[in-house]
Amino acid sequence: MAAIKQPSVLPGFGLTFGFTTFFLSAVVLIPLAALVLMAASMTWHDFVRVVFSARAMGSYRLSFGASFLAASINLVFGFIIAWTLVRYEFPGRKLIDALIDMPFALPTAVSGIALTTVFAENGWIGQYLQPLGIKVAYTWIGVTVALTLIGLPFAVRSVQPALLEVQRDLEDAAETLGAGRLYVFRRIILPTVLPALLTGFTLAFARAVGEYGSVIFIAGNLPMKTEITPLLIVIRLEEFDYKGAAALGFVMLVISFVVLLMINLLQAWGRRRIVAGAR
């Protein structure tokens, strides 16, 4: 016990640890346990039927696939936006910086409706994509666009502080040692911000998997095609099939947990390489 205890501003390790467990239990663990219990009350046969039905499988594919794609897009563009904000001084920088957080604040339904209006076949952007044969609204592309929007702030805000940490000196040092720009980016900048990038990716992915409000407006919600798992769960609830809903929820829980755990482990490994032995 003495080894764990460390002096801190807040009183008592026992008290704070108690709060931590209590809070986590009340808000996270107990509701999740209820979900698992509910799912567990089904027979194995029923459970498999619900969980592996073609409609459910299609929704998993869309939910996790689109989330993964959206988080990947955010990884790239979030990095570019963060780079621009950190490295350049230009008029309106503060404004853009503030705009990044908009998706945080906006009710998701509002962004969903806005996206649908813009990307619909007769919308501002949709009308130009239509002749090219690209349909955004009511397809999986629309789902991805919505998930990208809501995940963007997570990606940018995670990378920004890490980029601030990359000192110019490092780049200057590499340059005097004869490295070209691409080499500096690949060997110096990227490895340094990789943990932050992964964090951003994880947060954006997690948020996208759980997203409901904005997607249902732009997705069109065709079973097997543009129906996401959260929506399917709501449909089951509306049919008073609580157990089916719980089963689907349980599957989401398991997949999300496994993915997040994997990314976290990857990240911990990367961080250990950098700060190993420090203090």
Binding site: D172, L177, G178, G277
Partner: protein
């Protein structure tokens, strides 16, 4: 020459951070750029490395012009204050970085790495990560990394800044050793004079973007040419004195000639004397002094610092030898003194004790600007001038004194001056439409430098230099150099030939211009631009001054009889400061010149 800088200028938001620096650094030399923060030394180092472009001038490495070559292609080694190690790479990977970029084979890389690790005494640390090393070890890795690609030049930017004293000492020795072993030309930037002394073959002192002086450490310390170098390199008491035909005088006390060394010039004028704290002797009475008597004083503060005893002594002998400053900014009548253990044992003193003060060695600064005296018809007007921003700024940067002088009949034809017959330093008067007659009157009374100051003038961004007579060229250049060491401004010499100059004579005018420029550079280390104009002198000068705000004119003249007729129009508008440099006869050997060359030898 290993590194050649030719008139390198770097501006930041229009202001020069590095101002016209020319410098040659020899093969295998250990050169230290010394200056306070913001003096432009780091920027200059980055310019040599190719990390900062220059706005003007040329940089050559081993005879190859690299002004427009990127840092990547320059092949220099650079070490940063904060090490700038790649934290996600092991020591081995850090050191091999430059070799990998050059696609060197694995076996060769390993061999080179072992060599470098041995050089910085870090054998066996290959697989550590930077975070597992101490600060000193990290900096050793940085040095090894910078040397990996066998650069021709090693640049060190405050490499010891983040280390504590013991480690610093040790790393300093390592770097000096490595430098000797490899014979590599090295430039180190620092603000620590002790570090500069310990490492340098030669030191260049920078301030306000200018390279003020260069020379061997011992020479710069013993014979600085500028106030800044005198006070920045160790502690110094700056004392106003008077140079006469018979030697140096502090007030009424004449100082033993041997203490001051050979003097330049024979003109009777005010000078700035440098007295190092360790050159001051203290004894109970005047008779006990082994060296020349200076003044009497009372001990105000004694600090024990180990090997040395440091004290401040208040001067008691009235105004006779008032120090300007001892470099700590407290300009009043204090002398800073240090004594060795041996001296302490010979004469024990305590706080408040009255002592006789002697000096063993005095160095006279070759600067022609010693102090300022504002002059007006009433005391309150003279006091008001002291508050003027340009004057206050100049005096504080020059660490000098502003006194006042009341002349009720200032400018009245036929009247004589009522103050002391001697004029000391630069006389300052307020600009107004009739000021030229006051200036003429003061010149007649014996003033040699007169600063005509408009209301609220601020330090200039550009200084125009013109002399109306070749005989005052040296004096004008010396004054200009002195001013320009204390303001970050660009200097332009304007030569003006009459409109009707025949074509055959024009090359002659051009040559005079270039002569002046090379003299300014050789004698004063002052870089200036030159412009040749045709037309009426005061008209052309006024036109140039009117073009842009923030300009100042330094005008050299010989004889004052025709001052109002020739230059009256320059003073009538009172929009720009004018510094008049007046000499009846120019001394044949520019005094500032000799000292500067002595510092260079």
């Amino acid at each position: 020459m290993s590194i050649t800088l030719d008139q390198v200028t770097k501006r930041y938001q229009g202001l020069p951070v590095v101002n016209d620096v020319s410098l040659d650094i020899g093969d295998g030399e250990f050169f230290v750029l010394l200056g306070p923060s913001g003096s432009g030394k780091s920027t200059l180092l980055r310019a040599i490395a190719g990390l900062a472009g220059v706005d003007h001038g040329r940089i050559a490495l081993h005879g190859r012009d690299v002004t427009h070559v990127s840092a990547k292609e320059r092949g220099v080694g650079l070490v940063f204050q904060n090490y700038a190690l790649f934290r996600h790479m092991t020591v081995a990977d850090n050191i091999e970085f430059a070799l990998r970029v050059r696609r060197m084979k694995g076996a060769e890389r390993r061999q080179r790495r072992q060599e470098l690790l041995r050089l910085v005494s870090l054998e066996g640390m290959d697989e550590r990560l930077p975070a597992q090393l101490s600060g000193g070890q990290q900096q050793r890795v940085a040095v090894a990394r910078a040397l990996a690609h066998k650069p021709e030049v090693l640049l060190l930017d405050e490499p010891f800044g983040a280390l504590d004293a013991k480690i610093r000492e040790e790393l300093r020795r390592t770097i000096r050793q490595v430098q000797r072993e490899l014979g590599i030309t090295t430039v180190l930037v620092t603000h620590d004079q002790e570090e500069a002394f310990a490492l340098a073959d030669r030191i260049g002192v920078m301030n306000l973007g200018r390279l003020l002086e260069l020379g061997k450490p011992q020479e710069l310390y013993a014979r600085p040419a500028t106030r800044f170098v005198a006070t920045f390199l160790g502690a110094a008491n700056l004392i106003l004195a008077r140079q006469t035909r018979d030697g140096i005088r502090f007030g009424k006390t004449a100082v033993n000639a041997s203490a001051a060394g050979p003097l330049q010039g024979s003109r009777d004028h005010e000078v700035v004397a440098v007295v190092r704290p360790e050159e001051i002797e203290i004894a109970p009475t005047r008779e006990d002094l082994a060296s020349g008597y200076l003044t009497r004083g009372a001990v105000e503060e004694i600090v024990f610092t180990g090997a040395l005893e440091r004290m401040r002594i208040r001067i008691e002998d009235g105004q006779e030898a008032a120090p300007l400053s001892n470099g700590n900014g407290n300009g009043s009548a204090f002398l800073e003194v240090t004594r060795t253990q041996h001296e302490q044992r010979a004469f024990q003193i305590s706080n408040g004790q009255h002592v006789a003060i002697g000096v063993r060695r005095i160095h006279i600064l070759p600067t022609p600007l010693s102090s300022f005296t504002t002059c007006a018809t009433t005391e309150s007007l003279a006091e008001a001038l002291v508050q003027q921003p340009l004057l206050a700024e100049l005096a504080s940067r020059m660490k000098t004194r502003i006194s006042t002088r009341v002349e009720p009949k200032l400018g009245m034809p036929g009247a004589n001056c009522e103050g002391a017959p001697e004029f000391s330093g630069t006389t300052v008067i307020a600009a107004h439409s009739e000021v030229v007659y006051q200036a003429q009157w003061l010149l007649k009374m014996g003033a040699e430098e007169i600063l005509v100051l408009p209301q609220n003038a601020s330090p200039p961004q550009r200084v125009l230099i013109h002399w109306a007579d070749e005989a005052v060229r040296r004096a004008t250049l010396a004054v200009s150099a002195s001013i320009l060491r204390h303001v970050s401004a660009e200097a332009i010499y304007i030569g003006i030939l009459p409109q009707q100059t025949p074509a055959a004579q024009r090359p002659h005018g051009m040559r005079a211009l270039l002569d002046a420029r090379s003299e300014a550079q050789a004698v004063h280390g002052l870089e200036m631009r030159t412009e040749l104009r045709f037309g009426d002198v005061s008209h052309e000068l006024a036109r140039q001054l009117g073009e842009l705000a923030g300009q100042m004119l330094i005008l050299g003249i010989r004889g004052h009889a025709d001052l109002p007729e020739r230059f009256g129009s320059l003073f009538a508008e009172s929009r720009w400061p004018v510094l008049i440099v007046h000499r009846q006869h120019d001394s044949p050997a520019g005094q500032a010149g000799q000292a500067y060359q002595a510092g260079q030898a």
